[in-house]
Each structure stands twice: as structure tokens, then as C-alpha cells.
Symmetry: C2
Subunit: 233 residues, 2 copies
DNA sequence: GTTTTGCTGATTGCTGACAATCCTGCGGAA
DNA sequence: TTCCGCAGGATTGTCAGCAATCAGCAAAAC
């Protein structure tokens, strides 16, 4: 039987779709950190009931993009230095585990796919398409994690990557050492393809080390949590 | 100001409390794996509205204790071998990170507390109080993770530990090598107190290795996901 | 006998209205 | 002047009912 056009996009539950809309607004910076979210207003804009909006907000709270103050307010999460440190350290641990496990499942085709992504990354950087480059960067890491065939890890990783991206939007952060970036990714992909679990894990984990150390230093200096907000200085 | 009698139990949101009730029923095995959950029935038993039950179930779904089949049913999660492998590998990675970071914050008082827990664990095992022993065991690991002062890690760890316990209830699993258990915990605590990050991480991670390897072998043999169900054979 | 089709009861998804709670600002007292 | 308490308004929390969807069964078609 010929496969008919999927109605899935219509089929998805309303609260999920509402969450998608709000999420993308947050990740694109339309809704900035700290912004208060009113259930009534959202329900009017999205043309769904307040209960549905509530359910959507609860999902986003689980993803770490939104915070709830009981009986009082919802707001877009504000990522402090402590939060950034938490996000990056967790990311390291998860991608480390992912890379270690990926080694057991990687096929030749997977290897080719990963190498192709590194090439794309290189091309994007050479041509100055930095927005594309970060997308490919994240995609590469996610691809490796997917190879671990670990549903829970993949899901948690999605959430963490989302928070990393959100933090980058907030702080206006962009990588500066692109050459190092390329060689790091190349080495990581090589290790995965070579099925060297220890090396793959070590490389995946150390990928964020520069940021983690910077953030740890900031914390030692500042003592208390301070908000990172040097947007496009 | 003197701390007044906590109104927390009254103050907490209704859906959270509903989730607490259902959760404890699941973790105690009153609601077995695969059991269908009817919103109407739960709302009558808990004396709250269906919307509140719905919110509670959504929370439990995020914790991995419950699964939703859209438009059709809620059911208590059924933990397959694959799931168990996922849970234990994730646990290793998280507790590894936790132990590594704990090293930076551990005080003398913390060290004493950890050592006391090991002693309690030893006593419980000696006296045959195995139920207490597992509680202390989990408590010890959680205490170390708490020392990392990492909110996101602590929360994720809580969820993972919950799933570990749930899996243990389902499979009737109990540790058998209690002597090894004690020495492993002693070594881990010593490493944390000695502020040896690498050793602490390695020990924390390897704590589950026996289970992980067993599960991985089962997966290789069984090929497809099979449910572990040798309950008190 | 097997497959398809249409119905029915049950269950989940969503909505609008009501109740509980919190923040704001004003007035009065120390 | 400053602090406290207390309405009033705004916002979130909870509820009961209607709509959409699904599994199962029985009848019809081949």
C-alpha cells in the first residue's frame, strides 16, 4: 500500500505543540531570560485554554527553560554562572558516557556520516557561516550520543544541549578558537571510529573543559552566583 | 526567628501531593509494573479532580515511573533489561561526576558523616537488617552527590535512584556480596575524604559495574529487549 | 472462513468557570 | 518618617463538564 501523507503534525497533542511554540520563542531570544510569562496572555496568543498552557509550561519547566514560583508566576529561566557551570559539567559527563558507549555500536556508515559532518563544520567555518557551524557542532555531538542507543541518555542530552544553547543566546557567547575546535572534533570522531572507548570518552568530556574552568574561576572570584550578561560586548 | 511547625504538607500544591501518593504506591510495589492507571479511578481514590491527577501523572512520567499512551492509557512503567542497563549506566556516570566534584567541597564534618554512614551500613548488614542496609546504601551515594553542590545533578540523580529502586522491587533483586559492598563503600568514602578526584570518580562509577556487565551480557544473549522477572525465584 | 466496516462504551484531551493565594499600595499608628 | 495591617486587583490553582479519540465487538461483504 502506498504510504499516505502523515497527519502526525496535526495529531500531536495540543499541549506539546504549545510547548514547542513557547520553547522556540525562548531559544530564539524572543522571550528573554527573566521574562514573566502570564498564563492568560499565552493562552490568548496561542488560542488554547489556560489549562493547556499550564501543561506546556510544566513541560518546559522540566526542561529547565522555565521556572515556576508557586501561586505567583512563571518566568523564563535566568542562567547564572552557577547554572552555566552545572550545565557544562553535566554535558561533559553525558557526552563522555555517550561517546564511550557509541564505540560499541558505530558502523562504517556511521563513521562516514560523522566524518562528513566534520567536513561540513570545517566548510561552514571557512565560509564564515558561524550560525551553521554551531548547529553542525551540536548535531555532531548529538549524533555520537545517539549512537549509544541509550534512550534516557539521549533525552537528557537533548535537554542539556537546549540549555547550553539558551545560555549561549543569553550571554552572547561564541567560540573563538575555531582551529582548535576542528581538531578536537576530528580527534573525537577518529576515536569513536577506532572504537577506543577510553580515548573517545576523554575527548568528549574535555571538549567543554575550557568553559568549565573559566566558569569555575568566575565562581571562585565572585563567590555568590552572579548573572552572566555581557551580551555582545 | 524560631522555625514554626511546617505547613509544608498543607502548603504543597495538590498535584505534587497526588504525585507523591501515587509514586510511593509504585515504589512499594502496590501498583505493579504494567498496571493500567485510570484517571477517573485515581481521582476518586485521592479525592481530587481529574485534571490534578493528570498533572501528577505527567510528573511521574517525567520521572520515568509511568508511561503515557496518547488518547488511550497510562500505565506503570515496565522495566526491561534494556531499561535496567540504561538506568545503571546513567547512574554510574552521574555518581562518578558527583564524587569527582564532591572532592572540592567535602569538609571534615562531611567526612565524619560519611564514615558514620558506612559504619551504620556495616551494622545493618551484620544484624541482618537488609532493608535498612539498602536505604543506607542509597543514602550514602546521595550524600556524596549532594556534596557536589550541583542542583541539576542532584535532581537527575534522585530520579535515577528512584528508577533503580523500582527496578529492584520489580526484579526482586538484592545484592549478595555484602563484604565486597562494604569495602567498596569504604574505599569510595576514603577517596572523597582524601580529595582524590580521579580515584573517587573511578570507584563511584565502578560500583555498578557488576550489574552493568551482567545486563550487557543478557542483552547480547537475548538480542531483543526482554523483561527481567525472576521475582524471588 | 476471513476480512472489512460500522457501531458502542469507555477513556483521555481540552475548555471555561470558580476558589485560593499572592503582590501592591494606601491609610493609620508609633 | 517608618512600620504595620488590610483591602483590592491580578494571577495562579482546582474543579466539573463537554469534545475527541480509541479498543473491542458484531454484522456484513467477499
Amino acid at each position: 500500500m502506498a504510504k499516505l501523507a502523515s497527519l502526525k503534525s496535526e495529531k500531536r497533542l495540543l499541549d506539546r505543540r504549545a510547548a514547542d511554540q513557547i520553547r522556540s520563542h525562548i531559544l530564539e531570544g524572543v522571550l528573554p531570560a527573566g521574562e514573566r510569562l502570564l498564563e492568560t496572555q499565552l493562552s490568548e496568543e496561542l488560542e488554547v485554554s489556560r489549562g493547556t498552557v499550564r501543561s506546556a509550561l510544566a513541560q518546559l519547566a522540566n526542561e529547565g527553560l522555565v521556572q515556576q514560583v508557586a501561586f505567583t508566576r512563571w518566568e523564563v529561566s535566568d542562567t547564572s554562572t552557577v547554572d552555566a557551570w552545572e550545565i557544562y559539567t553535566l554535558r561533559g559527563a553525558m557526552e563522555g558516557l555517550g561517546a564511550r558507549l557509541a564505540v560499541n555500536n558505530v558502523t562504517e556508515a556511521d563513521g562516514e556520516r560523522l566524518r562528513a559532518m566534520v567536513d561540513e563544520l570545517l566548510a561552514a567555518i571557512r565560509e564564515g557561516r558561524f550560525r551553521d557551524a554551531t548547529d553542525i557542532d551540536f548535531g555532531l555531538h548529538s549524533a555520537i550520543v545517539e549512537l549509544a542507543r541509550h534512550k534516557r541518555l539521549a533525552e537528557q542530552h537533548r535537554f542539556i544541549v537546549q540549555q547550553v544553547r539558551f545560555h549561549m543566546v543569553q550571554s552572547g557567547f561564541l567560540p573563538n578558537d575555531y582551529d582548535g575546535l576542528i581538531s578536537e572534533h576530528k580527534a573525537l570522531v577518529d576515536a569513536v571510529i577506532a572504537r577506543d572507548a577510553d580515548r573517545a570518552e576523554r575527548l568528549a568530556r574535555s571538549h567543554n573543559d575550557a568553559e568549565v574552568h573559566l566558569l569555575a574561576e568566575l565562581l571562585k572570584q565572585g563567590g555568590r552566583a552572579r548573572v552572566v550578561r555581557e551580551k555582545a560586548s
